[in-house]
Symmetry: C2
Subunit: 348 residues, 2 copies
C-alpha cells in the first residue's frame, strides 16, 4: 500500500481523458462549485449515496451500465462519502481485475476514515460489509473547499469517529477535538492531518488485517455497527454509543480505572456536542434491542471466528488493546449495560 | 503467490470442519466415488456449472444464500471445472474481504489451466470475464481418479489449451502430446506435471499481469474468446481455432517462416484429434461472423487499452512474443483469413 495523501485548499484543475472515469454522488450536482468540476469529466457515472448503493442486489445493473459504457476505463476517481467510496472502491477492485483509484472524500467520515486504508465493502441480505476487497487507493485528496460545503450537522454525526481516533491517538488528539466549533460544524483545518496520519500509522502495520493491529480501529464498532445497521442511525453517532459501551466494559473488566474513565469522558468533547435529551432518547432506543437480535448480528460480524470476537478495549487514552472474547461475554455485558441504563433513566 | 500443487492418485480422506465450505458442481453427485467424498463435508453448496454460473446477475442470490448459511466459513474448497473455479474463486476473494481457497479441478481444462494462476472471473452483460480478482489458491489438488471419470470427448474439447501450452513450452511438450491416446480421452498421467509447471513458470514472472509476461498465455485467446462467447463452442476448441489464426498471422507478419509453421502444424497432434469434416464445419461457422461483430467483442477485451491490444504471436515452438497491435490490424487480418478460408473451401 503506497497511498499518496494530498491535503488541498481547492479542487485542482484537471486535464481529463475519457479513460478516466468519475463515479460521484449525484447530490453533489446541487453544489455549483463541485458541479462545475464534475462536468469537466467526459466519462462520468452518477450514483445515489446511502446503504442501498452498497447492496449487492443493485451491483449487476451498475456493472452492466459501467461495462457497456466505460469498458475502456483505466482509472476511477471517486467523489463522495463513505457509501460512494465503498461502492466505487469495490467496483474498481473487480473491474477488469482491478484498476487504480483516486478517492476524493466529501464527508467528514470519509475524509477522516473510510477513504483511507484500502477497504472496500458491500452489503448482503441486509448485513453490512459482508463482502469486499482490499484495494489501496493510488491517491486520496482531502479538499477543504469541498468538505466545508457540508451542513454543520454532519460534523456532529461524525463525532464518534473523531472521538474514536482521539482515544486511540491519545491526549494531544483529544485536546484538539475540544477546541473545535462543533455547533458550527467547523474543525480546525490544520488539525485534520494528525487524525488521518494516525489511521495510516495503524493500517501500515497490518494492511490486510492479518496480524490484528488494525482491530484497534474497531474501537466502538462492534456494537456501533449493530445499532447502525438496525436503526439506520448515522455511523458516527452509532460509533459514539459503541465507544461508551467499550469504555464501560473496559472499566468492568478492570482494564481501565473508574477514575481514568471519568477523566476520559471529561476530555471527550461530547458535552460540547451532545444534547442530554437527545442522548437519552438514543440510549433508550438502541438498548431496546433484544439480546437475540444482537446475537443475530454478531454471528455475521467479520471479526467473529468460530464464536470468538476480536474486541477492542481501552486501557487509557493512547492505549487500546484487543481481546478475543466469546460472543456470549459480549451479550452478557450488553444485558448488564442495558439494565444499568434502564435503571439510570428510571431514577431520573 | 505461494500455491502448493499436489498431484494425487485418489481423493484424500478429509477431516472436515463446518468452517470449511465446499462449493461443488452438482453434476458430480452422479459419480459415486465423488459423491461419497462430497458428503463428508458438513458445510457444502451445490452449483450448476456453465457460463450462467459466472453471470453477475446470479451473484446476489448466491451470496445471500452463502452469507445466510455459511457466514462462519474460514476456507473454501472448490470442486469442479473452469466455471465453478472462476465463480468459487471470485466468491472466496470477496467473502469477508477474502478467505483461502483449495481448488480441486475436475476437468482437463481446469486441471491444466484455469485452476492455476490465481485469476477469478465473472461475466457481465454477456461479455466474458469482465470483472474478477487475483486470488491465489492456497493449494491446488490435481487428482487422477477424479479427472479420469470424464468422458473421452472432454480431452478433445480441451485440445486447444494443451496445444497452446505445448507451443509456448516447445518441442518436448509437443512430443508428449503426440503420444497420448486422444481418441480414448487419455493423457499420460506423468506428463501432466510439466504442462502445469510451464504455467507457473510464466505466472510467477508476472502474477498480477503488470509486466506483460502473462500475455504469453493468451496465445490463441483473442479470437478464441470471441468465438467461444458468440457460438458457445467449448473453450479448448475455440482456442484451437484461435491458435490457427495466430500462427497464420505470425507467418503473414514474417515472424514465423512458412516452413516452421508447416512443421509446427505437423507436430501438433491435431491430425490425431480432428476430423477434417468437423473442422471444415467449424471453420465455416466461426468465419461467418461479421467484422462488426468481432469489433464489438474486441472493444470489451481486457487486453484492449485505448484501441491497442496486446496480441501474442509465435516465432517458433518455445518462443512466443507479445505485440501491441491496433484493433483495426486484427480486424484486417480477420478479413484476410476469412477470405482465404472461403476460397479454400470453395476450391475443395
Amino acid at each position: 500500500m503506497k497511498t499518496k495523501i494530498k491535503i488541498l485548499k481547492k479542487l485542482p484543475v484537471m486535464k481529463n481523458h475519457h479513460s478516466e472515469l468519475l463515479i460521484y454522488d449525484q447530490y453533489l450536482m446541487k453544489i455549483p462549485l463541485i458541479k462545475k468540476w464534475i462536468e469537466t469529466f467526459p466519462s462520468r457515472y452518477a450514483v445515489k449515496s446511502g446503504e442501498k448503493l452498497k447492496s449487492i442486489d443493485q451491483l449487476p445493473s451498475h456493472l452492466e451500465h459501467l461495462i457497456k459504457n466505460f469498458s475502456f476505463a483505466q482509472k476511477i476517481y471517486i467523489l463522495g462519502g463513505g457509501s460512494v467510496g465503498d461502492f466505487g472502491g469495490f467496483v474498481a477492485s473487480i473491474f477488469k481485475r482491478g484498476i487504480p483509484v483516486v478517492q476524493i472524500p466529501t464527508t467528514w467520515l470519509s475524509a477522516l476514515d473510510s477513504a483511507h486504508g484500502g477497504k472496500t465493502a458491500m452489503n448482503v441480505g441486509g448485513f453490512k460489509n459482508q463482502i469486499g476487497t482490499y484495494h489501496f487507493s493510488e491517491e486520496v485528496w482531502v479538499i477543504q473547499a469541498v468538505l466545508e460545503t457540508q451542513p454543520a450537522i454532519r460534523l456532529f454525526e461524525a463525532s464518534g469517529e473523531f472521538m474514536k481516533t482521539a482515544i486511540i491517538g491519545g491526549e494531544s488528539l483529544l485536546k484538539k477535538l475540544q477546541s473545535w466549533n462543533w455547533k458550527a460544524g467547523k474543525i480546525r483545518w490544520s488539525d485534520l492531518k494528525s487524525f488521518i496520519e494516525l489511521k495510516y500509522k495503524i493500517v501500515k502495520q497490518d494492511p490486510f488485517e492479518k496480524k490484528g493491529f488494525r482491530y484497534q480501529l474497531n474501537l466502538g464498532h462492534t456494537l456501533g455497527h449493530v445499532w447502525e445497521a438496525h436503526f439506520g442511525i448515522p455511523h458516527g453517532l452509532a460509533i459514539f454509543h459503541g465507544l461508551l459501551f467499550d469504555i464501560a466494559w473496559s472499566v468492568q473488566l478492570k482494564l481501565l480505572s473508574p477514575q481514568r474513565a471519568f477523566d476520559l469522558m471529561d476530555e471527550m468533547p461530547w458535552s460540547y456536542v451532545w444534547d442530554e435529551e437527545f442522548k437519552k432518547k438514543t440510549d433508550l432506543k438502541i438498548y431496546s434491542l433484544t439480546e437475540a437480535k444482537i446475537r443475530s448480528y454478531l454471528i455475521k460480524d467479520k471479526k467473529n471466528k468460530q464464536g470468538l470476537i476480536s474486541f477492542t478495549l481501552v486501557e487509557k487514552p493512547g492505549k487500546v488493546l484487543i481481546k478475543k472474547v466469546p460472543m456470549e461475554d459480549i451479550l452478557r455485558e450488553y444485558r448488564r449495560q442495558q439494565r444499568t441504563l434502564q435503571e439510570l433513566y428510571e431514577e431520573l
